[in-house]
């Protein structure tokens, strides 16, 4: 059983805290889904930070601070250092964004930041792609968790590159992997877990649903189903039909 830097999660669901219609709705989404991890961020203090800090602390979940919006390794490293002190955790969701439209990670800055942060005692969750060479570099840097994207952040497209993700999963059997970004429906989450991924991380799919708390619960159910299916050994696929009812003993009519 792969864990997240020594932490086993009761439910393989990590939920973002942004874009909800209200703080109360966000709390309801966490309550109704029992998601055990919340992603959080650091921004310039304008008065609302203290109340939000009290609220996320009150959720009683693991906090995963991110470096969202950082476009260079240096920015991401400084943000991670500030987040570690603020949130009191070594966990960091490392984002080094390389392109403003796709929000695709900058692989070069990502490796540079991951090396520095792992050496500094951080437990790094790098937001990455399905690229296996990049994954190898991140593992070499000391990452024991990878967070490949399903599709571009906020797109809701699901798992865009099934072959690439399946290959990545198979190539690093010891590394915990979280599908981060691009999930739109609970079926996408179930599919990721059925494929052997260890968790999913999502935000917009829940926060922008008409009923976020109910959608969060739907994702939780899908995550349970997907994880149970993966642990149960899914059947192999075949091209031709095979009758499930025995042929032997069928009457001659």
């Amino acid at each position: 059983m792969r864990d997240f830097y020594g932490i086993s999660l009761p439910l393989p669901l990590m939920l973002g805290t942004a874009r909800y219609p209200s703080p109360a709705v966000m709390e309801a989404a966490f309550r109704q889904s029992a998601a055990p991890v919340a992603t959080v961020s650091l921004r310039r203090e304008q008065g609302a930070g203290q109340a939000f800090w009290d609220m996320v602390r009150g959720l009683g979940v693991h906090l995963l601070p991110n470096t969202a919006g950082c476009h260079s390794a240096r920015e991401a490293i400084t943000t991670a250092q500030m987040a570690r002190e603020y949130f009191g955790t070594n966990w960091i969701k490392l984002e080094v964004i390389g392109h403003a439209d796709t929000l695709q990670p900058d692989p070069f800055g990502l490796v540079e930041a991951a090396e520095a942060l792992c050496a500094d005692g951080f437990e790094v969750f790098p937001y990455t792609t399905e690229d296996q060479v990049l994954a190898g570099r991140l593992v070499d840097a000391g990452c024991r968790v990878l967070m490949p994207w399903g599709a571009p952040i906020g797109s809701g497209l699901g798992l865009n590159n099934l072959h690439g993700l399946r290959s990545l999963r198979a190539a690093f059997p010891e590394v915990a992997m979280v599908i981060d970004a691009g999930l739109g429906l609970p079926s996408h989450a179930a599919q990721a877990l059925e494929m052997g991924f260890d968790a999913v991380l999502l935000n917009t799919a829940v926060a922008e649903a008409r009923n976020p708390a109910a959608m969060a619960e739907a994702f939780a159910l899908a995550c349970r189903a997907g994880a149970l299916a993966a642990a149960s050994g899914p059947m192999g696929q075949r091209d031709m039909a095979m009758p499930s009812t025995p042929v032997i003993g069928k009457a001659w009519l």
Binding site: R43, R44, E75
Partner: protein, 65 residues
């Protein structure tokens, strides 16, 4: 002395970072700080001196995905 705080020009009289935070109204607030792009741990604020033109970032918790 003129410094930039979270992207805005501010005039402060204190020079030590912990005193500057008090002067700016963040004496009691839970914040993380960076000076000129470098993280300043809370424990180092008393020994950190600001100079004219410095860029100070004062961050706190925010919603994130």
């Amino acid at each position: 002395m003129k410094i930039e705080v979270n992207g805005e020009a501010r005039e402060v009289t204190a020079t030590r970072l912990n005193a500057v935070l008090v002067e700016l109204g963040w004496g009691e607030a839970k914040v993380a700080t960076a000076l000129n792009g470098n993280f300043v741990p809370a424990g180092a604020r008393g020994a950190t001196t600001l100079s004219d033109g410095d860029q100070l970032e004062v961050l706190s918790a925010m919603q994130g995905g």
